[in-house]
């Protein structure tokens, strides 16, 4: 599926552009198994393309500085802070957001585990926790506490659901074991 979004608005922006660096470019992104084409500036952070052009709610704006992890997505299976990743640098990769893991009807074991453990209060950090946990479980299917905490240590949680999050990752790992 190919989508070109907000062409009219982008056209307006384009016409106003004075600098060469403001030039829009077309990028074909592979997001959650679908192909999406967007016209944006090459240095536009991936986060805004995902949230605004593709209308994905999963990745969150938390700091814009790669400090908190709320915006985390997977690019070729690796966690990436989408708030600082220029779209041009990830255009060749396979991008996965939390929407790509599972849906309400077919939850991914991690999503199910976070819901069953009630592993949040506000939940704003939850996207990043799940995405980094996914990357962890892909390479370490039987993580111990230390490995889970290590993998998530770059993610901030302010409501302090840390212990529930660790339990949720354990639960998911158990469910995913063959």
């Amino acid at each position: 599926m190919i989508l070109v979004l907000r062409a009219a608005h982008i056209g307006v922006a384009y016409a106003c552009g004075e600098d060469k660096e403001d030039t829009m470019a077309s990028f074909t992104l592979r997001v959650n198994g679908e192909t999406r084409t967007v016209s944006v500036e090459p240095d536009a952070p991936l986060l805004y393309v995902l949230r605004n052009d593709l209308e994905l709610n999963g990745p969150k704006f938390g700091c814009g500085l790669a400090q908190c992890g709320a915006c985390t997505v997977l690019v070729d299976g690796k966690p990436v802070r989408s708030c600082v990743a220029p779209v041009s640098t990830v255009a060749k990769g396979r991008i996965t957001t939390i929407e790509g893991l599972g849906t309400m009807d077919r939850l991914h074991p991690l999503q199910r585990a976070f819901i069953e453990e009630q592993a949040c209060q506000c939940g704003f950090c939850g996207n990043g926790m799940v995405m980094s946990a996914k990357a962890l479980l892909d390479r370490t299917p039987r993580p111990n506490d230390r490995q889970i905490k290590g993998a998530l240590n770059g993610h901030l949680c302010r409501c302090a659901s840390h212990n529930r999050i660790v339990r949720a990752v354990h639960r998911a790992a158990k469910e995913m074991r063959p």
Binding site: R6, H9, I10, A13, Y14, C16, G17, E18, D22, V40, E41, A44, Y48, R51, N52, E55, N57, G58, K60, F61, G62, C63, G64, L65, Q67, C68, A70, T97, I98, E99, G102, T103, M104, L107, Q111, F114, I115, E116, Q118, C120, Q121, C122, G123, F124, G126, N127, K149, G150, L152, N153, H155, L156, C157, R158, C159, A160, S161, H162, N163, I165
Partner: protein, 743 residues
Amino acid sequence: MSARSARSVSRRDFLQATGGLVIGFALAPRLALGQDRPAPLPGSLNANRMLDAWLRVDPNGTVTIFTGKIELGQGIGTALSQIAADELDVDLKRIEVVSGDTARTPNEGQTAGSLSIEQSGTALRFACAEARDILVSAAAVKLGAPAAELKVSDGAISAPDGTSVTYWDLARDADFKREATATVKPKPPAAHRWVGKSIARRDIPKKFTGGAAYVQDVRLPNMVFGRVVRPPSPGAQLLSVDEAAIRRLPGVVAVVRDGSFLAVAAEREELAIRAREALARSARWGETESLPPAGDALYRHLMSSTVPGETVVEKTSPVVAMPVKTLEALYTRPYQCHGSIGPSCALAQWQDGKLAVWTHSQGVFPLRAELGKALGIPTKDIRCMHAEGAGCYGHNGADDVALDAALLARATSGRPVKLQWMRDDEFMWEPYGSAMVMKLSGGIDAQGNIVTWSHELWSHPHSTRPGASAGVNLLAARHLAQALAPGLPADVPQPAGGAARNAIPLYDFPNVKVVKHYIAEAPLRTSALRTLGGYANVFALESFVDELAAAAGADPVDFRLRHLKDPRARGVIEAAAQRAGWRPSVRGDGTRGRGFAFSKYKNLACYCAMAADVQVDRPTGRVSVTRVVAAVDAGQIVNPDGVINQIEGGIIQSTSWTMLESVRFDRTRVMTRSWADYPILRFTDVPEVEVVLLDQPAERFLGVGEGSQGPTAAAIANAIANATGKRLRALPFTAERVKQAMA
């Protein structure tokens, strides 16, 4: 709120409202005696008295409940639906919740103070019990059977002869357009099917599947993206900026400059961010040194305030023996941040002079009133609709960003604006939890009992929310050319208290004096951060109890128990000590130690006691809080896991405040701008937490959202003292401070 607004009704308003001089004169003496006041109703029913303000039964088989309290990730929507489902005898799945919409829900003020279950839960409980009674009475007529013989099961009302009718059949006839009477008794705890169970929260699944869960996820047709450019410091004024150059940037739709308020809207979010950066580069500001000194000098500065001390409580018992030993200690707490993971965000749209706002404010009605004042339009032309934000833990930028969005949206020709604060906007401009100084002194008699106790404190305001004072306390208002300043807020009155919250000991000390210096004028913006003054006061009070226990050679748990009569207070202390495996009078070994603390939040809400274990690395000063065991009595518990989540989250959040957090600033600027300047606790430093609930099904609800923060700080301080023999009295206990103390 109600007392204040009652006072502010002028004589003229009163006469107009009552239709003339003669009637006014005749009514006045009776009103003064309160005879014309309607009978008080429980919880928020008192201020929102119509039944149909609280619930609606629909023919499609659902019940919609309306609440003025909003979801903050504390699970209020789920807990309220449990209460409603029980009183109505319907399945939980049938309950829909509408919350925080000035056009649709009751006005319950702020969602704050751990009061939502007490206020909204109590109101819904009585409203739903009465609604069930109305429906059953209607069924009795229809079925020709006495109401007392009818049974209700999931909304189906059946008579002994087997005939039945459902709520959904009766929905059109049942009249809830009447004032509640609260005469129908809610169910006894034994009859509850949903209340008391750990029902999974209804807001969580969408949060883990990319559903539209937050205000940031609201998308409106033809929407543009907004950003603000704040001054570089609290005292700064905008001198010049090249707006025209910014307007020519790609995608820019509008630039608004009004006094020192500066904002930009663009077609795309990243272009709005780029335009913000360009505006910031172009802007020239005049800055002034408006901030207090930092470090220890801050506390000397606070104590040098000329604001006289006000006695909060004074209790004397002349018969008691004179103390044989007295101690004095000074405790301090720095400015601290709410630090929401998601910076504040709002959407605003103007249509035909009317304003619609999507907001994560904790109080949509007070926000609407404040927006009306700031924008000079009647509140009837404003609708505020709540959508969740990231956890806020008190008054952060949520209300402020709503005004920013509304101001910017005036320049976008009816196009809606989504205005998102950047990380530095939130860190530099959210109202902080006030810095505080607590000076404790006390004495013990020959038997080692506390006979004198004094707690003197210095603090700036803890509540400057919209509606808390005259004037306008929305940030942008003070930056406008026609600046609107906030009035000086009064302190939150006792018994809950603001600056002096939890300063009055619950212990039975014979001589007690509590004095506050409430310094209303604040150079740095301060407001409600979870517990208000409670965190610092409990830290000081419960640390000092341990200091006196040590002076008396007593075990901290035993020492607390022998000064407490309240059986529920004793209950949580005993339960926490037992579950933690507390061993009396065990000294730490130099690096490992254990501390204890207790409080009853606000002296009105939940009881919470806990034991904390620490490990101190003496060479570096690094302290690990390894384990915390807490016991809680919250009266009747609606959702046990919800209570545990609040207490557990409070303990870990408070561990972060206590070990790491303070706002950095110099005499001109706030230097805390990103998480690099304001470290918080991470996974590898989080303690193991165990929470024991003492359920009291026959007791009324007691709020839990802020119950554990104060005791956590004191339990950690007491554990460090137990481990090392060194008493830390200045928050936070950074490695540097601990190392210094060990030297």
